[in-house]
Amino acid sequence: MRNIPSFVETICILFRGYLPRVFKARGWVLAFIIMVPFVIVHIFVILGVVPNPARLALELYHNGYASVVIPVIALVSASACISEDIEQRTLPLMLVRPAPAWALPIGKGLLWFSWCSTWLLIVVTLMQLVGMEVTTIPRKIIALVFTLWAQLGLVSLLGLIFKRGILWAGIVLFLWDPLVTLLPGTMQRLTFSHYLQSLAGGQYSINNMNSLLAQAQISTPFWLAATVLIAVGALAWALCGIKVMNMQIGLSGRESEG
């Protein structure tokens, strides 16, 4: 009787197998994207040209990391996940193995998620150097990491479903999500930003200044917001798995020529 790897074993095999990949160019580009905004702000703080570092730290977190960096790294990481194997036509080589095919997307995704999460953890922890309140740091880390989890899952799913899925994901993350400031009450719950801000502590409710909201900002309890992001990510990864499980992919690509 031959041994067939379990779901967890498959994830571990892919994680170990692809681990050296995160130490190549793309991995360092992601680390660079995450670290650079903080480094620049830190230099300004050291030079003493920032009158209110605490406010700048919040601006950096919400307007920099939450709004731009997380969607960017979700898009860049997703293109290194299962979409890469479809583009490079290497997915069939994995699909002819007995390992469960539905574990392949999350197996690759978890690696990049872990890599980016590590750098996010480092950068948010370091934000205390530029005036971030130490007690708020844990929930701010959780907010970014959970949002990345959900966004990475969604981007990977769109990349699997649509030919230009990453582009569609970019539209969702950069055009739809910022509308959180304009959307009425319950509609805000259809954006990642809403849950991120509910977890991190709303940007403007903390500052209580420069409110740009066209609509009153609603909030979701911490644990509920965390659960929603985890569930959205898990659902997206599960759907990715189902998609790969049923995907007819020939050796020449999605549509084999025969």
Partner: protein
């Protein structure tokens, strides 16, 4: 028990029929079966169905009496060497093989032993630390074969494995496949070159334009080829002498005179070549060159299709 069973299995790509309803069976046990046909004959389509990448549009494909599509019990018993040069970018071959072995259910010492053994079989032990981009095409082909051998499959499927290999590598691969077949592995090899398949096996499945045209031994296929009139251009200073010699040949179908020779249409070309060789050797005939015009597999298949029609 059968290794492969196809029951009226067909595959469509939208409106295009990749493989017409096909029925055949390959029994369990070692040996080599050749899938022969020109490009676009449906060989790769068949291989993709057999290896569980594509589901048949109709009919049934069974491997070891089970459908192969995403079926771990079947996939654990097959190894696929795909056509083409596809590898993940930036990987070292040995690390990639370890990952592929892991996905095939190998772990620990067994995994290390399998990787070492597969690398030894393909003669890549000392070069496995290279990345794919640093390898030659022949080396990558060997790694492709190694990944299929890792888990000691009962069925090894190779899609055009000789493409791009030099003669030394071809000979080595053939030797390797014969050894595997002796070790009770069923080997399925696709090729568009009869000569290659003939060197490997006597069992051939002949495909043309998406359908199984014939199933049989190399001798039977050769006989079919011999019945096909082949056009040969004989270049000579004396066209008349060529014509005079050729008209005596009983399997001559047609002759077309040219300024510097003649174009002959002959059946049973192998017999013709022997006679021509004797004539030239004995000084009966003097020729400058011999150029077969349509002695390719495509022409034979065209002929066979008309013949079957």
């Amino acid at each position: 028990m059968s290794v492969i069973t196809l029951e009226r299995a067909s595959l469509r790509y939208g409106h295009i029929l990749g493989l017409s309803p096909t029925t055949f069976e390959i029994k369990e046990g070692g040996g080599i079966t050749g899938l022969l046909g020109p490009n676009g004959a449906g060989k790769s389509t068949l291989i993709q169905m057999i290896s569980g990448l594509l589901r048949p549009s109709s009919g049934q494909v069974l491997l070891f009496d089970e459908p192969p599509f995403r079926n771990p019990n079947v996939l654990a018993r097959i190894g696929l060497v795909p056509e083409g040069d596809r590898f993940p970018v930036g990987f070292r071959a040995d690390r990639w093989l370890r990952m592929m072995g892991g996905l095939s259910g190998l772990k620990g010492i067994a995994l290390s032993a399998s990787v070492d053994s597969a690398l030894e079989i393909v003669g890549m032990t000392t070069r496995s630390h290279l990345t794919f981009s640093a390898m030659s095409k022949g080396m990558r082909q060997r790694i492709r074969l190694a990944q299929a051998l890792l888990h000691s499959p009962d069925l090894l499927i190779l899609d055009e494995p000789f493409n791009g290999l030099d003669s030394e590598a071809r000979t080595a691969l053939m030797y390797m496949l014969r050894n595997l077949a002796k070790e009770n592995v069923r080997v399925l090899v696709s090729s568009h070159i009869l000569g290659e398949v003939a060197l490997l096996t006597d069992q051939i499945l002949l495909f043309f334009r998406g359908r199984l045209l014939a199933e049989g031994s190399v001798i039977e296929i050769r006989e079919l080829m011999d019945r096909h009139p082949v056009e040969l251009r004989l270049e000579a200073d004396d066209s008349k002498a060529v014509a005079q010699w050729a008209v005596d040949y009983p399997d001559l179908v047609a002759i077309k005179m040219e300024t510097n020779g003649a174009v002959l249409s002959v059946k049973n070309p192998r017999d013709f070549f022997q006679k021509l060789q004797s004539a030239v050797a004995s000084g009966q005939l003097s020729i400058k060159s011999l150029d077969p015009l349509d002695m390719n597999l495509e022409a034979v298949f065209q002929y066979l299709t008309e013949d079957h029609g």
